[in-house]
Symmetry: C2
DNA sequence: CTGTTAGCGCTTTCAG
DNA sequence: CTGAAAGCGCTAACAG
């Protein structure tokens, strides 16, 4: 593999000049440029990005930490994020944190050592304090799905409370008053926010949370099934179910069907996230849509701005979910 | 950020010695090691992996090219792959090729420039010739979902023909004789293999492919819907439908339901891939399971073997799909 | 077991 | 506009 040195020899110029035409920094006369480019071509020269990184103290890489690589949610986000970063000529290094504080810290450590120019963190386990401190003694960091007041500019977040509110309110407006709720794990702040929104909507209708109609799941489909069994076993009647995400809603619907119940005949169901499979379910699942690709893209833009000095990028930090009505909900008779 | 040089000064040893304790290459006396480690700790030293890479001519990174980052399929694969690579202390650089030859080539180029120690390629567009040639003049390469005879040892593939055969045979054995087929795009070899398996099973029962009951889709849900409409419009009766993947099966089921048809009452359906949402569908979708995580893991192991000299790893190159029976198929009356 | 000495391939002042 | 020269932080012979 040819080096810059060989190119400079063949072109009859100095190393520095070759470097200049590569980075088109400062001016190079058209003639010289031509000579150099010809030499590059002849040698099939490819710059060594590692050497470039070392010399320029820039790795042109962005570290990304997400809870999981699988599932319908993160892939979509990563896809948009990768597009944007890649289009700027850099690459992403992906790691999974598995929503576990220890693993998340390890991943952050891992990415730090890789000398990423910036980090995009979608974490659940590590506390705000750590993140604030870390971000102040490190390369630029962007937080996804998290709103840290001191770092609001580096946060891309969704109004989960509003989402929970919208979900519940839509059901209340359809006349439902006996509402069941299957939550995500309550140690995750998005879960608690969604639940808070639920309570707010209930409150507006003079209702409160019925603990017997509340189940804490894990965001996994299986916990939705368990939740449904639990709710049915309680014997407390309900005409609508709100779920913390679509997977659990799918599980709950499956378990209900196993008992011979029909949706929305026996009760209405609404999920959260609006992942693609909501439209494959029967009945199609109503959900609260999160603009997840858009959020991924924005995280990428924050990085472009903070780590690579790009200006004039339109950046939105806070997102609002939207309600998507489908066949799984109907008004009460 | 402290450098190796500062550590060596503080510890009162040479650069080389510090380097040795980091890589625990060759022997270092316990005392020296201790001194060095103390110095490292005191300075909060973190090796600069970029410099390491340049000097050692190893980036400790593995480039991964997949068709897409989103969707239920690739995420699962990447997840297993990342686990394995990460556990060995290296990282992955992910790019998306979008099943497009030009983009795939660009991605390969991109990863090559990044000086990855190895590449894992899941590509559709580029021809075998190119891949063979490329792999001979590059770092180790592993091919996913592709069987290139000359490079069989570097291929991790699935017997798609067998999968197609199994899907169709299971239906034939249930008494179905009028079979419809919604294929993936026929320029993708996995699609054609699956179709070939379908034909083989038909042949065994003295049947042939009925062109009127065959539709070429795109592997996307929407094309499954279109396929179903097309099949119904043809007026040719069928009692079972085989789909090239689960997304299209989901779309076909949705379109059928819109017409008031029931499954498996009006016809049986089977998909391919056995992605998670197959169990969320109504009725639950039978499918041909691909051990996709396992394949991802094996690709990672190939890399560990070929690029990092790891020995004694159990590696399997060729995988067989399995039939998963669920409620979407039933015997014909 | 430890130190010395060259680089790895490129960027970046600083002169000219 | 171009060249010379000094590193970036680390590894890897080669001596000792």
């Amino acid at each position: 593999m040819a080096t810059i040195y060989e190119v400079s020899e063949l072109a009859g110029v100095s190393l520095a000049t070759v470097s200049r035409v590569m980075n088109d920094s400062s001016k190079v006369s058209p003639k010289t440029r031509e000579k150099v480019e010809a030499a590059m071509k002849e040698l099939g020269y490819r710059p060594n990005l590692i050497a470039q990184s070392l010399a320029s103290n820039r790795s042109n890489s962005v570290g990304v930490l997400v809870p999981e690589l699988h599932g319908p949610f993160f892939g979509a986000m990563l896809s948009a994020l990768e597009d944007e970063i890649r289009a700027s000529g850099r690459h992403i290094i992906i790691t999974a944190g598995h929503s576990d504080e220890t693993k998340e810290r390890e991943s952050i450590e891992f990415l730090s050592k890789r000398r990423c120019d910036a980090l995009i963190l979608y974490v659940y386990g590590v506390p705000d304090d750590f993140l604030v401190e870390f971000s102040e003694s490190s390369v630029p960091v962007v937080f996804l799905n998290r709103l840290i007041p001191k770092k609001a500019n580096q946060c891309i977040s969704l109004d989960n409370e509003l989402g929970g509110y919208m979900a519940t309110k839509s059901l209340l407006e359809l006349g439902h008053r006996e509402l069941a709720y299957i939550s995500g794990p309550l140690w995750k702040r998005d879960s608690t926010k969604r639940l808070m929104g639920h309570k707010r909507a209930l409150g507006e209708f003079g209702l409160g949370l019925n603990e017997q109609l509340m189940f804490e799941g894990t965001y996994e489909e299986s916990s939705g099934r368990r939740g449904m069994k639990h709710l049915l076993a309680s014997g407390v009647p309900f005409s609508a179910l709100i779920c913390g995400n679509d997977e659990m809603a799918a599980g709950a619907m499956g378990a209900a069907r196993d008992r011979g119940l029909t949706i929305p005949g026996d009760f209405s169901v609404i999920g959260f996230d609006n992942v693609p499979f909501t439209r494959y379910l029967y009945p199609e699942l109503s959900s609260i849509d999160c603009p997840i690709e858009e959020m991924g893209r924005m995280a990428a833009r924050c990085v472009l701005r903070d780590a690579y000095g790009r200006e004039g990028l339109e950046i939105k930090n806070r997102f609002e979910p939207t309600l998507v009505r489908r066949a799984s909900i109907s008004s009460i008779q």
